[in-house]
Subunit: 482 residues, 2 copies
């Protein structure tokens, strides 16, 4: 445990029973959980190295119930940590001992599907995959597709501005979010955006998207939907040299072809995947999976252009898929990569982003850092938009190993910022990268962001130990209180 | 003159000479204009019915000079109206008698072109067309293309979140803006975003894009650039029925084809265009121009699908262009439409946006409103994204006619909001639609936007008579002062 959490407010903890009673007075009986046996299920998210049981958990079903909770917690000075499905890899939904977890998973209704105007309106706790499942019979889909899409919620996707493999072509959540119903810290309910793309006034919706539960809670969302393409096809390209694979990615992007996905796996990842999933990948130092979609002609045309670009770089193999089986086989290794790495030992999964042209240099430097820190790293990531997911392997049972892995991770993230990138592509800042925010932002830039936080959440009750460096936010709040 | 402007601050006007002297002390001699003969050139923008000479005009060349101006005006309590090229159709750059106009047109350097990472970094006063001209030899272009692109600046495009015909495929300014250098009201210089797509922290860049000079002044911008497509080709489709043309637009969008542009001209517009430009359009009630781009195969494939959709609706004509001459002929009428309407008399050009599925109903209702108000209206607009530009014809020399045209315009904009759209697609709110913002936003929603304004501009010195309804903002500031 090398990331510090602030000391909980003991006064709030002492008032725990009154707070629970007050919540029970405004919510249905099954919507308030306070038995420590049951709140334990909410003690961590997918950054499982950090755990803390909350004071209570509330599971509202309506926007009005969320408003009642927010009003009550605001009046009683109780911290609130909003939670989607708890799949955050950055500790975005980690509780504090003095907080109420506001879970969105019972807000799961589909409210409206309008294919003419191409949107779906949902309650925010619906899972990402359920949205596309609802749309399937209409011939439409929702583009952002995080790896956790079976479990993760639209509420969490909006909070983290989530991406996924298909974001290269279709953009991340902020590019596909048309409107939202938001409950502010006071309990006030506000509508932002709408089915139209260019609303007038300030872009409040964009501000909320990616704000990691710092400004309010999204209870309903209007999402842009897209007609399903006629078809899609992956190709696999193997390279003897990892940097040349990075060059191939940069050349594809530069050429103007826009695949839906360009996924990258390096040699340590390929080794793990082969022994686990036996996907039959070529023996080489880097594999790219490039998927294109469209009509049969469009697919053939795009693959021809990609082949021309790849051939100029002497790949070990260029494998096309001629049918659904072959396509599934190409994807099989990539889809099992995280599971395969898990078999090798414990890992932390990073989420830095770099300009595509900097991929070759960044990969080389990560290799050097791996040797310096004496820890293995595997790279498997969305290369087309420079969103890297280095997996650092360590042994959780070895004292000090997690701290070493985190130090290595911090070096990689600093490297991402140095080459003109940033600390996160789709996982958010959470607690994981909170204190690195000072690497990315000058004190004045952070101060402005914190002033916006002041405006929406004057008591700093909403997910306050996340995103902003603890020291900077304590100093800021101290000055504001003067 | 039916839109009210607030009374200027007489104290500031009285201190005019000191303010000018203070500006001259921090700027080069040619950067401060105060002779009434010369400031007259800045008394209006493209909403020429409204005029007011400013106290002074400053024309800085660097971010540091902008910071000095902002610091000085903040200290002396002087209102500042930022101005791009003054092409706003909504009065976004209209001066007040107590203001300093901060013109960006001398901030016009290209600072960096990076085709590998697909961005260009420019000073904000460069014109929109100059950006694409700079990129031409590299084989790239900048997508947003407002009709005024020969004159309008990137600074103005960012302030208004401008669009253009090509925005159907490539999005508006906010989708193509990667970073900005911003000077705040205090003179503080802040960097927002960067060459990477998903920066961590709050989305300050999105908040600034479209904020119409309410929050600060953008002095440099990092813009996403795209490789030029291999080719582009328009088709012209004529319909006997205006509503069926609207249906055709909705069907094309629904099918998943994404043309770069779908432009719509109705019968009054076609009549004006024919007598002015003699473009040889078919005699009918509505013409669509649909442009697609890509490789030769992609173009042929898309046109075939569009023909299939159009044929099902019995068009009067479906005209393909086989070469550059024929393509230019198809575009000729559309490009001369505003000029042609100008020959018919005075007009105001509106800018409401509606969901594409609501186009047929909205067009019918606009026809009914035209008869009720006894004023002719012509419709020529970007139909693919529902961004309408109804032109209301009136006689500026007839007393009361402008007020009648404005009343008709307000009815059309209310209609846009009613059907689920909004007050502006790309022109901004300015003074034109300022008081209609209450139609679109509930008081609480407006209050939150004004609190953000308070945060960045506590004295409300930046372009304060625009965007927010005068009454609502006066009440808000009154309460805040209590």
């Amino acid at each position: 445990m090398s990331i510090a959490m602030p000391a909980p407010n003991q006064d709030v903890i002492a008032r725990g029973p009154q707070i629970v009673a007050a919540l029970q007075a405004v919510l249905p009986a099954d919507a308030v959980i306070h038995d420590p046996q049951e709140t334990r299920a909410y003690e961590c998210d997918a950054l499982t190295a950090y755990r803390c049981p909350p004071l209570a958990v509330v599971l509202p079903r309506t926007t009005a119930q969320v408003a009642a909770i927010m009003r009550l917690c605001n009046d009683m000075g109780v911290p609130v940590v909003p939670r989607g499905a708890g799949t955050s890899l950055a500790g975005g939904a980690l509780p504090t001992a003095d907080c109420v977890i506001l879970g969105t998973m019972r807000l799961r209704d589909v409210l409206e599907i309008d294919t003419d105007n191409r949107f779906i309106r949902v309650q925010s706790g619906i899972t990402n995959l359920a949205v596309s499942a609802e749309l399937e019979s209409h011939g439409f889909f929702y583009a952002p597709d995080p790896s956790s899409q079976l479990a993760c919620t639209i509420a969490g996707n909006i909070a983290m501005n989530s991406g996924g493999a298909h974001c290269l072509k279709y953009g991340v959540t902020t590019n596909n979010l048309m409107g939202a119903t938001v409950v502010l810290s006071t309990g006030e309910i506000v509508e932002m955006g709408g089915p139209e793309a260019g609303p007038d006034g300030l872009d409040m919706l964009g501000l909320f998207c990616g704000s990691e539960g710092q400004l309010g809670v999204v209870t309903e969302a209007i999402l842009r939907i897209l007609p399903r393409p006629e078809g899609a096809r992956p190709v696999l390209i193997g390279f003897g040299d990892a940097e040349v694979a990075g060059e191939c990615v940069a050349n594809i992007i530069r050429s103007g072809v826009i695949p839906v996905a360009i996924e990258y796996m390096d040699e340590p990842c390929l080794r793990a995947v082969e022994s686990f999933a036996k996907a039959g990948y070529p023996t080489c130092n880097a594999v790219l999976i490039v998927e294109v979609e469209g009509s049969a002609d469009e697919i053939a045309d795009q693959i021809a252009r990609i082949r021309e670009i790849a051939d100029a770089l002497n790949p070990v193999e260029f494998r096309e898929s001629r049918n659904a089986d072959e396509a599934a086989k190409i994807w099989k290794g990539r889809k099992s990569a995280f599971g395969a790495m898990g078999k090798l030992g414990d890992y932390i999964c990073l989420d830095g982003t770099v300009p595509v042209g900097q991929l070759p240099y960044t990969l080389r430097r990560i290799g050097e850092l791996s040797r310096e820190h004496g820890l293995e790293v595997a790279n498997v990531f969305h290369a087309g938009d420079g969103n890297m997911h280095p997996l650092i392997l360590f042994n959780a049972n070895q004292p000090g190993d997690l701290a070493r892995a985190e130090a290595f991770g911090n070096d990689i993230l600093r490297l991402c910022v140095e080459v003109g990138g940033c600390l996160t592509g789709e996982h958010g800042v959470g607690i994981e990268k909170r204190d690195l925010m000072s690497t990315q932002y000058a004190p004045d830039d952070l101060a402005i962001q914190m002033e916006i936080k002041d405006l929406f959440d004057p008591q700093w009750l909403l997910n306050a130990a996340k995103v902003f460096p603890l020291q900077a936010s304590a100093a800021h709040r101290g000055r504001a209180a003067e």
